[in-house]
Symmetry: C2
Subunit: 813 residues, 2 copies
């Protein structure tokens, strides 16, 4: 295969060589007008996820062509953009990036402007992640400030100005209420505005009423915004982002419009009290920011594979700002979200997460100097035997996590199959109404989740007079191993209220997560875990004080005044339940460490989270994100999956050896344009090119979409191409003295180095190849002869078949 | 290719079918006696690294055969073990593990005992890393306790018993000296023993003398132990472990003997005062522990690829115990050490690191309740403008790191080329002598590195009366923005001493690292960075107090009494210099966070470490470990490396298209035993198998070593194989009526699914394949026809050629 003619061809020369010397029309990328950036455009608000069928879809919007050189001897190769709901080919995109890089490197030597441009290009990654970090920080701050304001609006307004929240309104006064809330004359509750005193029975009714009214308004706003403007804004977005990062195109999912609506409706829905979290959606918001800024840099905007590096960094920033935990953000992106995570991306993710955290800290929505969300001041040590209740909490977390996943999935199916799903806005409003109605009487359900978690994590100080800390402590006897901590009536009442709150919150979260609103599962599950943990902690504390003379506690606690910290149990419980639901471990531990600032609690946290993951894995193989991916049929090839079957490539490839299906291979030089058009019309997404029909040795691979574009262009009257023109997929025609109509030479769009495997390759290796190399398809050969093709979809179907799952649910290419 | 005959063959049936029905001798693995475990055996103490040449070595110790089934239709395939200094084939080992896993799964259904065994097998990874963690913790504790004892022995002995160190000796008494050292009558310095008073001039001389004498004795012990018993124990071991984890065999490098000698000599050399660290070697020690326990589990002991998962976890435990930083340990293993790091390994590494840290904490060598090595109590906030000195420290760290690397490399070369290298023990003893002689007069060089770092990190408390904290503070005026901190004479003197100490320590560490002793670069560089950082911090503090009225400081510091913390600068400086030397970032930041407990210093640490890495990368592409790997010519295919050349597989494969070299391909059924013997004798390490000499379409791949074993076995008089016997590499002979001597059927050792690539595949993709799939070789085809072969060594050579580096230095297979 001599390709010498194109060896030294420069990009600039290409135009002048449009008609090659051999009386052939070389298809040239610049014949086709570059269309505008389709990817950046928003989708119409109708959600197409369910409507579209994989391969039977027509290729209606063949979009702009991206020029790209193949690697082989600098020959030019033409590439079309990816279609919506298609899988990307990492190898192809990486090659495209290398070519671009090389062009910059060559240009660098030419002028100082080019040198500067090349420098800009080299640093664009860092600039991009810096901007993404900034944007994430700002979004998170807006979200936090907006939520704080609206939550307080349900209670009253500030007389200094309605835009102040309660804390800002009472900034100067140091008065706090029984619950630790700020209190001042400037802050007027709705009952006060309507002329009632705070302790009045009528005041309670008015406050209750306003609480419910605002909940209905807010939930209606949230649901309507999502329904009308951006259906993609619903849910946490994590399963979709995982799928996108694994190399799939969902246009508009990370668009500006989705970003805007997601933030606004998230503020409303969280403020309405509906039991959903805002931490998971932060990852979606961050990814949208990442997508926006990636388009400012052609290096990332035009290259789907490279763009995913920015998305990985953005996901890290998302968790970083959601919890104020930059290290955990990076680990979460690595452990749960990202697919391809080289060290380069690790550095950038870390940088991005730090910038984002720094912005949030500067804008300071958490209201203290610490970077952490639920900063826990008390750092009491824990003793070895406490590992038993910690591991119990882990078991509980694993079980409750599976219960949550199963019930939530069942409820989601109910929503899809019954009439419930036909009224998404009504459902949300009803949920808002019911939640508010049930929540108000119990202080632990009334409070918003974040401050409740903070309260549960905090340990009781001596001056703390909330119900949870209503102990009759005796600090008189210094020599006694323990100060007696007799619980007052407040504690007993708090325990009851907590118990009821656990049930209410758990049931509400099962029904709320999955509605057509932005909704995360982090916080609703954390709060359940924290409440249960706190109850266990109070129990343990009572145990240790009641039996303070028992050898067990004397050995463990020594002369420490108090050796069981209920707050720590709340932290462990929250981590355990989260671990059970999401099955993340390291990042979960690091999130809790960063959130509480308690580096010395790594061991108990790890024990609980690991137990929770093990128990969860035994009861149910998938975490909630994997389940949602499977339920939606996204083409996600799980990195963590172990494939243990004995099948080989020959069992998976199409056509199967036993079937009569034709192999869609194109001969390299013996087809007419008419034949090609017919094949392109009815064939699969890509075609292997072989030496000839009789001699099926592999030459290369070409994508249908690119052939379509080329055939369209060749239809130009001036091109001289007719239906009987011969099509050449190789550079040099084999016969120089060929007589007939002008041939169409398509060598510029052929990949002459597709990845091939031998038919006896075990499927484990094939799956590994797909995962690690990011393939879209691979060609199967036997003794050099082409046998078939395996696409990513075939692999996914095969995995599901082998696991006896309905393989029809893999719905996309 | 019909392989039906072997489809349903069970492992147990194999023996009875030794002679197949076709009058052919199938080579059978069980004909060859399983030799004892060669890998576990220690190497003779002569270091073979320099003596061995890659391909020209003879295969003298063909070791035991491991049975293994190929994936293709359950056919049996035979495998030999790897030779020393050879590259492993991850695909092959992974396939072997899957086969083993499948066997267990089948057996599970048969009896409850098998079910139990299968359960044991499934949990063996966790049990193994648990044991590794335990062992690492114990080793680290022994190391810490031993070092503390020997360091104090240089000062004096305890009258209660010579095995007590100073702290243990004076446990009850709370007296501490000026330097924070424990002091009590039970502790007798050498001068007291010899009848001098502590403040005597003679006492100083005696203490000085004893200091030097012990240094000489300790350094002699360390050097002799390494020289005589375990040459592999020298150095930090990190470059070698990186190479081993990337898939290379160095027998004995992780052996029990190396482990033992490394620990003992490390105790001696660190106690002698020679300026080397014990943190880097901890990774080697941990990896040795990992290797030891891996052999207890056949799953890991018999499978080189799986064993590396344990090594990765062990490396995490190593850093975890070295710094008391479990999260950083995992990240270090991920960022710097490991090659293949799936999530499964991440979980296990974390578990292993935690167990190890927990053991150290329980044995408690750091003497406090915190898990951290240099716990910093004071948590003063930092202000934005301090980022300027922090970034300056980053620049300094980057520059000093490169200076260190370059000078150290130059000195190592000097050692190799001059007579210096001929007296390794003398060199160490001389270094011990000189170090002690120079170090004693200056308190900052006299002190051991770990406690010096702790001192520099600690901020000055009000009661602190060491020279560094000799301030005349006035706390009278409460309203003043700053308490004046007038430095006393102690601070000025300390600055001078620190300045001299920086120079002395830096020069000594350059000459010490690289000698034939266990030696890490972490601590020597950390101490230099910490000293410089502390000096900068004191300078900044003076600046802020002198110009306390300046708008800059008033805005930044507000009413805070002291807003610049010199201790923080020491932390940042230490991280920056370490970052410059090793080029690790995330793990460096997390190490410092875990070491100091200062979660709020992530941003300044990151700023400094990132700057340091950038500056370092600009000045010199490689960090110290990469440089050492290159200098030693290890076959390490760097994960981080970007390859930007336009070469394709055809340019790298052997034979080159332009050369006249023969392609060593074996025809599948037309060779005699004699011909095969000749080819095996003179050919390369592996042979592709093709259809016939004329028709070079690829059938499979076979390793030379396995052919050798098979040929040896076939020489058995009863086998009926003669020199003219036909060799078949396929299961079914093509001619059933073949007349002649009994054929030799070797189909059981052929890999029928080798990874192939097309000749036009860009080298970037090929390198990616090698890295991600862990290939040992790949076969190059063109239109189905075999063209050549690319081995890992070819790839490494090509990378060096393209970077214009001497490619002869890649010395191994």
């Amino acid at each position: 295969m001599d390709e010498g003619k194109w060896v030294s061809m420069d990009l600039n020369e290409l135009d002048s060589k449009r008609i090659s010397s051999q009386n052939a029309v070389h298809f040239n990328p610049f014949d086709v007008e570059m269309t505008t950036d389709n990817e950046h455009r928003e989708d119409p608000p109708e959600p197409p996820l369910d409507a579209l069928e994989g391969e039977s879809r027509n290729y209606s919007f063949v979009s702009g062509l991206v020029w790209r050189g193949s690697e082989s001897h600098n020959a030019q190769r033409v590439f079309a953009k990816y279609d919506d709901f298609h899988t990307i080919d990492w190898l192809r995109d990486n090659a495209m990036d290398r070519q671009r890089h090389r062009r910059f490197n060559q240009a660098k030597k030419q002028s100082s402007l080019d040198w500067l441009r090349s420098g800009m290009d080299a640093s664009s990654a860092w600039i991009c992640v810096f901007l993404v970090g900034l944007a994430c920080g700002v979004c998170a701050s807006v979200l936090d400030i907006g939520t704080a304001w609206l939550i307080d609006l349900r209670d009253g307004v500030c007389s200094k100005g309605f835009w102040f929240n309660r804390e800002q309104c009472c900034w100067g006064s140091n008065q706090t209420t029984f619950d630790g809330q700020y209190e001042c004359p400037q802050w007027m509750t709705w009952s006060v505005i309507l002329g009632h005193l705070p302790n009045d029975a009528g005041a309670y009714v008015i406050q209750y009423l306003m609480f419910v009214v605002w909940a209905v308004i807010f939930s209606w706003m949230a649901a309507t915004l999502v329904r009308v403007f951006a259906p993609y804004a619903s849910g946490s977005g994590i399963p979709e982002i995982k799928t996108i990062l694994s190399g799939f195109i969902i246009r508009g999912y990370l668009g500006k419009w989705t970003l805007l609506i997601k933030i606004i409706s998230l503020i409303f829905i969280v403020s309405s009290g509906v039991n959903v979290g805002k931490e998971g959606p932060m990852i979606h918001i961050a990814a949208c920011c990442g997508n926006f800024f990636a388009y400012l840099f052609p290096k990332y905007g035009n290259n789907e594979a490279k763009k995913r590096e920015i998305h990985s960094a953005a996901a890290a920033a998302g968790i970083s700002v959601a919890f104020g935990a930059p290290i955990a953000g990076v680990l979460f992106s690595l452990e749960e979200i990202s697919y391809y995570f080289p060290l380069k991306t690790l550095y950038r993710s870390f940088f991005c997460a730090l910038v984002a955290a720094f912005v949030v800290r500067s804008i300071n929505p958490f209201g203290n100097d610490h970077l952490t969300m639920f900063f826990v001041e008390v750092r009491s040590p824990w003793f070895f035997l406490e590992l038993i209740p910690f591991i119990f909490l882990g078991v509980f977390g694993g079980v409750i996590g599976v219960v949550f996943i199963r019930l939530n999935a069942w409820f989601c199916k109910l929503r899809k199959t019954t009439r419930l799903g036909q009224y998404p806005i009504m459902e949300v409003v009803a949920m808002g109404f019911v939640t508010a109605l049930i929540s108000y009487p119990n202080p632990y359900t009334r409070e918003d989740n974040s401050s409740l978690i903070a309260r549960l994590f905090h340990d009781c100080g001596p001056a703390d007079n909330s119900a949870l800390c209503d102990y009759n402590r005796t600090y008189t006897s210094v020599t006694a191993a323990f100060a007696k901590a007799e619980p007052g009536p407040g504690v007993k009442q708090a325990m009851w209220q907590l118990f009821l709150a656990v049930i209410v919150k758990f049931v509400l979260s099962i029904m709320s997560v999955g509605m057509k609103i932005p909704a995360g599962v982090f916080i609703p599950n954390m709060v359940v875990g924290a409440m249960v943990g706190r109850m266990v902690g109070v129990g343990m504390e009572q145990l240790s004080t009641t039996y303070s003379e028992a050898a067990l506690f004397v050995t463990a606690c020594g002369t420490t005044a108090r050796c069981v910290t209920p707050g720590l149990y709340a932290v462990i419980g929250a981590a355990a339940v989260m671990g059970g639901v999401t099955r993340i471990t390291i990042s979960m531990v690091v999130i809790m460490v960063e959130v509480t600032g308690g580096l010395q609690y790594i061991v108990p946290l790890m024990a609980a989270v690991m137990t929770s993951k093990w128990v969860g894995d035994i009861l149910m193989k998938e975490g909630i994100y994997e389940l949602l991916i499977n339920m939606n049929g996204y083409p996600f090839l799980d990195n963590k999956l172990d494939f243990h079957h004995t099948t080989v490539a020959a069992d998976v490839m199409r056509p199967r050896p036993t079937e009569k299906d034709p192999l869609w291979a194109l001969p390299q030089d013996s087809m007419t344009v008419e034949e090609l058009e017919h094949v392109v019309h009815s064939g699969p997404n890509g075609f292997p090119i072989v030496v000839s029909r009789e001699n099926q040795y592999l030459v290369g691979f070409v994508l249908r979409k690119e052939l379509q574009v080329a055939l369209e262009a060749s239809r130009h009257p001036n091109s001289g191409i007719v239906s009987s023109s011969r099509v050449y997929f190789v550079e040099h025609c084999t016969t120089n003295d060929y007589i007939g109509p002008k041939p169409l030479v398509l060598s510029s769009m052929v990949d002459y180095a597709p990845i091939t495997i031998i038919d006896q390759t075990p499927m484990e290796t094939v799956i590994d190849l797909f995962r690690k190399m990011g393939l879209r398809q691979t060609l199967v050969t036997h003794k050099g002869r082409l046998l078939g093709i395996i696409t990513k979809k075939d692999v996914l179907k095969h995995i599901k078949e082998m696991d006896h799952v309905d393989s029809g649910s893999v719905g996309f290419n």
